[in-house]
């Protein structure tokens, strides 16, 4: 049970080789052993989980149960869970208990998944390090060889990535606004999928930048992600940007192979600054796909370099508007004051952390009178150009292959102090978010210090199946079986 994938656990449960109660208990005890060091969970729900596991066993005994019956999962603490505290990693929501369930988590519960708790994240999903959470930073379960320094798990879904990598859960939900699923997946040696914008409902997911936010699965393998995505995805009338398209059985696409598939290698993603190890791994990925019968083609995405600044203007503008709702009146924390305005200011000053306040200020500035056209409108137009880059590349190729992040995980105390330097972490992930196209990251190898590195595949709108098929070829070739220093198996 110590090193089981979600898919293997499903099979073992169905054959009654293990019970859901045993499986859930094992994961709860792993959390007890490891999470003191990792801090992946903000809230754990072991009692609820045991009850759900018992119910799952009753269904399994009758040969019934949904797609994820009895499977222990973690939920990023950005998804509202009915009756379970949901904080977004922020002091302002420290005591917020949603009276309703997000569509994505409701979909997972409909398939009889078992939730072990709520996972840590950068405050309001704003960050690439998990250092901005009001509930303490998360520590990456991986260590550099011969070095005990605490490393960041990436972010914002860093708690999700760390929990999956260390074996505390079999899968977790993440959200990705500019790389928040893919970058932590890369840093923690797991697989993460950001589906097409509109594939998973945003209803009940605490909003950061609504035109970019998209939920997706994080797990150890592509098969595990395929199973989770099938459960999470689907049309939802409660989200006006949800797209009404049938959800395929993604697992059926896994073994399609890549014969005749055209894989684009974007020229603009090459740079002098890219570490040689990451460049080499990228070449390796190209070779794996070619060996399996794919054709690789150089393509150009000319507006790539404008992706990050465009992203920050669009995302921060939307964030400043979305976070206006935290005013201390209807929910969340309140700092009392003599006037309404003073109450708003005191509440928001105390409730938001440094990075969130910086982003709200920046977003307010670019939307303010006299600057809207120069910043926000210009960024939205450049976003069109970035989208066109992808659409014209996808006339020539079926998928794109790139590195996921420009570095491996770095130490807590190695985070640059300049915010712009921190933003550069998302350089390879942001363009796909801006265009709304699907992308995934899978672990492809280790660097010379023994840390995992990911590769990213980007596909056409709603062609997640092609990503799963191409990813599976690389997953097999990579044979990534490395496990982190802090892992369920080694902690027993």
């Amino acid at each position: 049970m110590r090193d089981m994938t979600l898919a293997a656990a499903r099979e073992a449960l169905a054959k009654r080789e293990i019970s859901a109660v045993e499986l859930v208990d094992h994961h709860i005890s792993t959390i007890e052993k490891l999470d003191g060091d990792i801090n992946a969970f903000i809230t754990t729900t072991p009692d609820q989980a045991r009850l759900a596991a018992k119910a799952a066993d009753e269904q399994l005994a009758k040969g019934e149960g949904g797609l994820l019956c009895g499977i222990p999962l973690g939920v990023k603490d950005l998804f509202c869970t009915d009756g379970t505290r949901t904080t977004a990693g922020s002091n302002i929501l420290r005591h917020f208990v949603p009276p309703y369930e997000s569509t994505v988590t409701a979909n997972l519960l409909k398939q009889d998944a078992v939730f072990l708790g709520k996972l840590n994240l950068d405050e309001f999903a704003m960050g690439s390090t998990n250092l901005t959470s009001a509930f303490g930073s998360v520590t990456n379960p991986w260590k550099r060889a011969g070095d005990d320094k605490k490393l960041v798990p990436g972010g914002s879904s860093g708690g999700s990535a760390a929990a999956v990598a260390s074996g505390m859960v079999l899968g977790a939900t993440g959200t990705d606004t500019g790389g928040s699923i893919r970058q932590p997946a890369s840093f923690c040696g797991i697989t993460g999928v950001k589906p097409t914008y509109g594939r998973c409902s945003r209803f009940g997911t605490i909003a950061f930048a609504s035109s970019l936010d998209q939920a997706g699965p994080m797990a150890r393998t592509l098969e595990d992600c395929a199973l989770m995505l099938e459960a999470m995805a689907g049309f939802d009338p409660k989200d006006s940007t949800s797209v009404d398209l049938a959800v395929p059985r993604y697992v059926d696409a896994l073994e399609r192979g890549v014969k005749g598939l055209k894989v684009g290698i974007p020229e603009e993603y090459r740079s002098e600054d890219l570490p040689a190890e990451i460049q080499a791994l990228w070449e390796q990925g190209i070779a794996w796909l070619r060996d399996a019968g794919a054709e690789t083609v150089k393509v150009s995405l000319p507006h790539t370099k404008y992706g990050l600044p465009t992203y920050y203007i669009a995302a921060l503008a939307e964030a400043s508007s979305n976070l206006a709702r935290y005013d201390g009146v209807r929910f969340g924390e309140r700092v009392p004051a003599d006037s309404l305005d003073m109450m708003y200011e005191a509440t928001r000053h105390a409730g938001f952390g440094e990075e969130v306040r910086r982003r709200i200020l920046m977003g307010t500035y670019v939307l303010s009178s006299g600057y809207y056209d120069a910043y926000y409108l210009r960024a939205q137009k450049i976003r069109t150009l970035i989208q066109r880059d992808f659409l014209s590349a996808f006339e020539k190729v079926d998928v794109l292959l790139t590195p996921t992040a420009p570095s491996a995980a770095f130490a807590h105390d190695e985070k640059p102090t300049d915010p712009v330097q921190v933003y550069l972490n998302d350089v390879f992930t942001v363009p796909a978010s801006l265009a709304g196209v699907p992308a995934l990251s899978l672990p492809a190898g280790l660097d010379s210090k023994g840390l995992p590195l990911g590769l990213q595949l980007i596909g056409r709108y709603f062609e997640e199946e092609t990503l799963f098929a191409a990813g599976r070829v690389m997953e097999k070739a990579a044979g990534f079986t490395h496990r982190p220093a802090l892992f369920a198996g080694s902690a027993a």
């Binding site: 208990v97 203007i313 004051a337 309404l340 928001r348 303010s368 989208q387 915010p419």
Partner: protein, 95 residues
């Protein structure tokens, strides 16, 4: 273009973010750095380019104009930081 602290204070007021005097200068520098970095967007020719508004894949939908949800007063009020009966409270606005 560079920001002055007066502008930072004005923006902070608009955002009701609450700004300490000590913070204003630090934030001014950081915001200035970010603005300097996004300046590169000015090199892009955006003549006749429409702004991107969504992916165009989600079609606007109509539904019958009927109540689909409601009657959840306690749930709605359950997270109120302060309430009086069925009301949210705020500091006195009119004397």
């Amino acid at each position: 273009m560079s920001l002055d602290t007066r502008t930072v204070r004005r923006i902070a007021k608009l955002a009701r973010i609450g700004l300490d005097d000590q913070e204003a200068e630090g934030l001014r520098q950081e915001l200035d750095g970010i603005l300097g970095w996004v300046e590169q967007l000015n090199e892009v020719d955006i003549t006749d380019v429409p702004p991107m508004i969504g992916t165009g894949l989600a079609k606007p939908r109509l539904r019958v104009d009927v109540v689909t949800d409601g009657g959840k007063r306690e749930a709605v009020l359950s997270n109120a930081p302060d309430r009086a009966d069925a009301f949210f409270t705020v500091p006195k606005v009119v004397e």
